[in-house]
């Protein structure tokens, strides 16, 4: 199926300015694209730059973080040089975001309805009554029972799962071209997480919204994503479609992540871990950032930084000695 490219990011770099006028790099040469109706998963551990990148795309980075990119194209127009005001107009209409904490991302002093219909009225030219009608419709669409009553209630009267549904309703209210979901289910209970994932899947099935789904949970990725970016220490280390990633990954880090994920569906799961810790931004190893933890590291990994190279159609890996078929499912 031919997909229209919704978002294209070319060479995104994010720096943090530090006290001495130095800067540390949090994201390095990030390039990827997402097509309409596609769900691109970004997976990585804390500090790998996945959240910072998404904020950079939204234009929400604040000092001391600075983003630079060759281009960030949304539906073919470059938004990387946009002014603050232009970005503000895009957010909530073309671009929208769901955050991790459903408890704090809603303003406790306003009703659900006010917050939702404000978003609608702000970007769609319609009257108050019309905005309310659409808001209630949105609430019903995200599976909230008694939408009329919920419309009038305050965030603290709702459970975490309900609040996250409201957040999704707000994010999707103006049928955005791109939705960024930053760990949308991490703070929720398992059964509620399953409901929310199910809901998101249903909602995107019949829309052409492109989704960046950021998570640390490979299980969620396996359930949701079409294509996956694996990030480590600010760079993409592997990019593949979801089947390839789980059954035929090429980067030792991806393999390590898969090995240290508990296989709930197997009787005797063995847990192999990645030794060592994630390096800090201020103290990046030379060469391949993963080499101190890599069991297959060789001499050249210490000095040479691997570029992201295409190894097969739709599969790219940043490794000097990629694995071949070492992690197969049978």
């Amino acid at each position: 199926m031919e997909r229209q490219t919704t978002l294209e990011v070319r060479n995104l770099n994010v720096y943090f300015k530090t006290a001495g006028g130095n800067r540390t790099q949090a994201v390095r040469n990030l390039s990827f694209q997402v097509g309409s109706g596609e769900l691109l998963g970004i997976v990585g551990e804390s500090g790998c730059g996945k959240s910072v990148s998404s904020l950079a795309i939204m234009g929400l980075l604040e000092f001391p973080a600075i983003a630079e990119a060759d281009k960030i194209c949304l539906m073919g127009t470059d938004i990387s040089k946009n002014s603050r005001e232009e970005m503000r107009k895009l957010r909530g209409s073309e671009l929208s975001m769901i955050f991790q904490e459903p408890m704090t991302s809603l303003n406790p002093l306003f009703t659900i309805g006010a917050q939702l219909s404000d978003t609608i009225a702000l970007h769609q030219e319609c009257g108050k009554a019309e905005a309310k009608r659409r808001a209630v419709e949105m609430l019903e669409k995200v599976g909230i029972p008694r939408a009329e009553a919920v419309y009038k209630s305050y965030p603290n009267e709702l459970s975490g799962g309900m609040r996250q549904r409201v957040m999704i309703a707000i994010a999707l209210a103006n049928s955005p071209k791109l939705l960024i979901a930053d760990e949308p289910t991490t703070a929720l209970d398992v059964t509620i997480q399953a409901q929310i994932l199910e809901l998101m899947r249903d909602l995107i099935q019949d829309s052409n919204t492109a989704i960046l789904f950021i998570t640390h949970d490979l299980g969620v990725i396996a359930e949701m994503a079409d294509r996956v970016l694996v990030m480590y220490a600010g760079s993409i280390v592997e990019e593949a479609d979801v089947m390839t990633l789980f059954h035929n990954c090429a980067h030792p880090y991806t393999q390590g992540l898969l090995d240290s994920t508990i296989k709930v569906h197997e009787i005797h799961d063995e847990l192999r871990c990645i030794e060592g810790v994630v390096p800090s931004l201020r103290d990046m190893p030379s060469g391949c950032a993963f080499h101190p933890r890599c069991p297959y590291a060789q001499e050249d990994c210490r000095s040479q930084r691997p570029e992201l190279r295409k190894t097969a159609e739709g599969h790219a890996v940043a490794c000097l000695h990629p694995l071949r078929g070492r992690w197969n499912h049978d």
Binding site: D189, V190, L197, F246, I262, V264, C273, V278
Partner: protein, 361 residues
């Protein structure tokens, strides 16, 4: 007076020996209620109770791990805190090596305490930021005056550090200099320092990254073998619990709904809640994606302050009948070692292990 001292001495000697019995810890009908509202106001704002733990019974077998799993507000952490007497029970009994400990005097509890230790969830708030690693690990040893000299203390602490994989020169550093995984190792070393028999792990890995989780879980497993430890492993995530536990207890709104051996529970759960919980786990294999869905639980968790009548799960249960709304289901053994509290236990519950077998065939 001398009689009490004699009894204490006897207890001390008994605890010093390895335990021969089967059930290291036995919890019977444990209840913990929290009072809310005002005693003086009538009606809704008047006094009521949150039944955080309501009639829970289980045993921890010597040298084994019992996993306790459930969603937020199910009372799993309160259970752990009540066993170790961070909270005082409302009623019920807790037996450690056959001794009732939940009513024990302070003095006798002093003797028991070194045998039951705890590992906490948040590696950032569980270590005093003003104390050096050495002092953190030495604290339990100092409190119970285990070491006769400063040199012996040092030796013990450094020994513990090497057991959990920390370099000895870390001893003089402060907690903020470490990553989450290393901090959790410090917490484990502190819990191990008194050579306990039982460690209550309250979500020890849920704040850690995936690759670090695996390190800590593997460490806990190897320590269990080395020191013949028993664990109570409390978590909200079934995957971690499955990995470490021999048996798993599932809690819902303050009550146990099911308790069974790990593989059995994952292969054929009997309680509809367990079934729904299993179906909700995201499976890290995209090939199995399409096969689930039907058993997803609908609805929200009710508030523990105002739990549903009868079977507390009936509001979300697909098989709910009239009796479920009225009568509390009894705790019974449906298969050897497999307990469930349900009026209509699922005959052939769909677990996730079974399906995997089918997929392989």
């Amino acid at each position: 007076m001398t009689k009490a001292r004699e009894r204490a001495e006897q207890l001390r000697q008994e605890l010093a020996r390895p335990y021969e019995g089967e059930n290291l810890l036995e919890v019977r009908h444990l209840k913990k209620y929290f009072r809310t509202g005002s005693r003086f106001l009538p009606g809704k704002s008047g006094q009521s109770y949150i039944r955080a733990v309501d009639d829970v019974s289980f045993t921890v077998k010597s040298g084994q791990t019992l996993g306790i799993v459930g969603e937020s507000g199910c009372g799993k952490s309160t259970t752990g805190n009540t066993i170790i007497r961070l909270l005082e029970k409302t009623s019920g009994e807790v037996y450690f090596q056959g001794h009732e400990i939940s009513d024990m005097s302070k003095e006798e509890m002093e003797i028991i305490r070194p045998n039951i230790q705890m590992i906490f969830q948040d590696p950032y708030s569980s270590l005093n930021p003003r104390m050096r690693v050495f002092d953190i690990i030495a604290e339990p040893l100092r409190t119970h005056r285990v070491c006769k000299s400063e040199g012996e203390l040092r030796e013990q602490v450094l020994d513990m550090m090497s057991v959990v994989g920390l370099q000895p020169d870390y001893a003089s550093r402060y907690p903020h200099e470490f990553s989450g995984g290393q901090r959790q190792r410090i917490g484990i070393a502190r819990a191990l320092a008194l050579r306990p028999k039982l460690i209550i792990c309250d979500e020890p890995v849920s704040a850690l990254d995936v690759s670090i989780q695996a390190q800590v879980l593997n460490l806990l497993a190897s320590l269990q073998k080395e020191f013949h430890l028993s664990y109570i492993f409390i978590a909200h995530g079934l995957p971690t619990v499955k990995h470490v536990s021999d048996r798993i207890a599932v809690m819902y709104l303050g009550q146990l709904v099911e308790l069974a051996g790990t593989d059995e529970l994952f292969a054929s759960p009997c309680h509809p809640y367990t079934e729904g919980l299993l179906a909700a786990i995201p499976i890290p294999d995209p090939a199995l994606r399409k096969e689930r869905r039907s058993a997803l639980l609908q609805g929200d968790l009710p508030s523990p302050a105002n739990p549903p009548s009868g079977c507390r799960f009936h509001t979300r249960c697909a098989h709910c009948k009239e009796i479920c709304e009225e009568t509390v289901p009894a705790w019974r053994e449906v298969r050897p070692g497999h307990f469930v509290a349900c009026h209509f236990p699922v005959e052939n519950g769909r677990g996730i292990l079974e399906r995997q077998d089918a997929a392989v065939k």
